[in-house]
Symmetry: C2
Subunit: 363 residues, 2 copies
């Protein structure tokens, strides 16, 4: 089947760009001397995980326990679940471990740490738990310099149903850097805060084997990773307009787009409507409305549920197109756009759909 024959809207993945993105990040990890533990929350695909890790490779990051189960069932065992643990999810986590998953959990909360230490013993497992620190992202995490880090460390190390597995952080502020020089600086903050936290734990006699950092921008621009053992970028597999806007990639590196059909247009070229709206594109509005049209100076400026409104993105440009014509919409934020779909229509640089890959959505 060719793209012109696909029902629309449809998610398209270009394997050629994907391969290039994976090779670039693998080379970065090698040069920096750290392990690459890709965050599969972006792709939610066993095929992408296999390409990222190579035949026989293992070690990935997930954002839901459903993803952990999916990847376990696809032959991956070494899995970090990088969202703060909730006591009610510990039973499912223990079940995954009994089925062979080498699962790592995270927390930034002393009560949650106590729950894991107690519940692990009751469930007959030992949870490997990492402490999440805030390296400036402001989302979650304790501070590397403060006491809660040490308290949580002592609770987890004391067990009996838990061990202290390390430090984990995500410098989300790299997404708002005005220049790549600023990303270099954020990467060093992310690294140094994680290493500081690890060293404080070690100086107190607590174990801290793993020091895990990572976002796509910091992974690509960090000058050094001394003291870090692994990085967890996610969006790099597909890239998006947000990343190209940051200077992290070029638009040619964007591997994912939504194929849409024109359902209406204004004869004066002022506007067209496509059958990809809020549900097909997501409502992420970081840059260029809801996405840019591949190869054209047009953007999706408004969406309703199943409609996208395409307007010129440059003065003087006209949206010259007919009902039934097709366009491809590049993502602002590919994690969100891809999550609106349940499969990838895979092309290899051209128009032929060579494979269809599944995704593990929801919870």
């Amino acid at each position: 089947m060719r793209l012109e024959d696909l029902p629309t809207p449809a998610l398209v993945l270009d394997k050629r760009a994907l391969t290039r993105n994976l090779e670039r990040m693998q080379a970065r990890a090698k040069a920096l001397g750290v392990r690459l533990r890709p965050h599969l929350k972006t792709a939610k695909s066993a095929k992408v995980a296999r390409m990222a890790l190579g035949e026989g490779g293992d070690g990935l990051t997930v954002s839901t326990l459903k993803e952990a189960r999916y990847f376990l069932e696809h032959g991956f065992r070494d899995i970090t679940y990088a969202v703060g643990l909730v006591p009610s999810k510990l039973e499912e986590a223990a079940q995954l471990m009994r089925e062979g998953c080498d699962l790592k959990l995270i927390t930034d909360d002393a009560d949650a740490a106590r729950a894991a230490a107690k519940r692990g013993a009751e469930l007959g497992v030992v949870f490997k738990v990492m402490i999440e620190i805030d390296s400036g992202g402001g989302r979650a995490g304790v501070f590397a310099e403060e006491e809660p880090l040490m308290e949580i460390g002592r609770i987890l190390a004391a067990g009996p149903g838990s061990t202290l597995h390390g430090i984990l952080t995500h410098a989300g502020q790299s997404y708002s850097c005005p220049s790549t020089n600023d990303i270099v600086a954020v990467a060093e903050v992310e690294r140094s805060k994680a290493v500081l936290a690890a060293n404080r734990l070690r100086e107190a006699g607590l174990p801290c084997p793993v020091v895990s950092v990572g976002s796509t921008p910091t992974a690509l621009f960090a000058r050094r990773m001394d003291g870090v053992t692994e990085m967890r970028p996610g969006v790099f597999v597909f890239m998006d307009l947000f990343q190209s806007g940051l200077g992290v990639c070029s638009e040619d590196d964007i591997a994912v787009s939504v194929l849409a059909s024109v359902v209406g247009h204004r004869p004066d070229g002022s506007k067209a409507m496509i059958d990809a709206g809020a549900l097909a594109l997501s409502q992420d509005q970081s840059i260029d409305g809801f996405g840019r049209i591949l190869g054209k100076p047009w953007r999706v400026a408004k969406v309703s549920q199943e409609h996208g409104h395409v307007y010129p993105a440059e003065a003087g440009a006209k949206v010259e197109i007919a009902v039934g014509d097709r366009v491809r919409v590049l993502p602002n934020h590919v994690c969100m756009m891809a999550a609106m779909h349940d499969r990838y229509h895979v092309v290899d640089g051209g128009d032929e759909v060579v494979e269809v890959w599944d995704r593990c959505n929801r919870w």
Copy 2:
């Protein structure tokens, strides 16, 4: 199972509020003397459609051909697909008709009308096509006063693979009304433009049996519907903060929420994190960030993929809560929030999950 035992995040539907909302709209349609053809793009649920239409009732609106197939398989036949037709979808439309679906299509484009008239004959069916008009919403549609309306009408009526089935409009501008008085005025514009278009077609000797209007605000506040045959509100089944903000319903009428667990909190009560983020809540930001916490003066002010950041919504309020506690997030825009989930956990005014209902998502 009770809500406290459900894995989170989870979509919860209160059948008691749903029933009240349905009864209110059924009474409105009766009082206005028009048929209620509910738009199931919001609920995407055969159970909700059956409750809305009653045993043996038929006649609904959908936003995708996948929904049309789903409802056909659940015993509904009289279906209006209210997104502009694309020539490449006509084959699937014809297939649905052969399987017993009394399908209605819409268009605002002369080329698309020509494609339907020609392709219907080739496929051995006669497409019933309505003309979409713009009654001020600015999304799609031709204008009631202008020539394209008549041109499309003549093409569709001439066939041979199409008939002109009527006029359809959606006054989307009702969503930005500052008061319910303004909604009354918008409803009258919606009605009068649709009736004007229908009368122009009829005066030219063209058939126009159906005059279809509708949004939840205009359906609830229209003073009269003279000349209109049916209305197609959708969001009324569940309601949301956007509708209560418009004055269209009270917060007690909101039938859908997302159940979430607390994954972290600041001991000073300044903030908590929940396991419902952009993927569980959607990214709709109409009012109150990404949603309000049921029964608490808190709101979800920020989201990342699987995290929601809960902050006080009022000066002096504190987010006093512990890791593992549960909250319910009310939707800004329920069509979007519900679409992030594949099933409803149905309660009946209380905490017990009495049923699980499916949804027909995607394309």
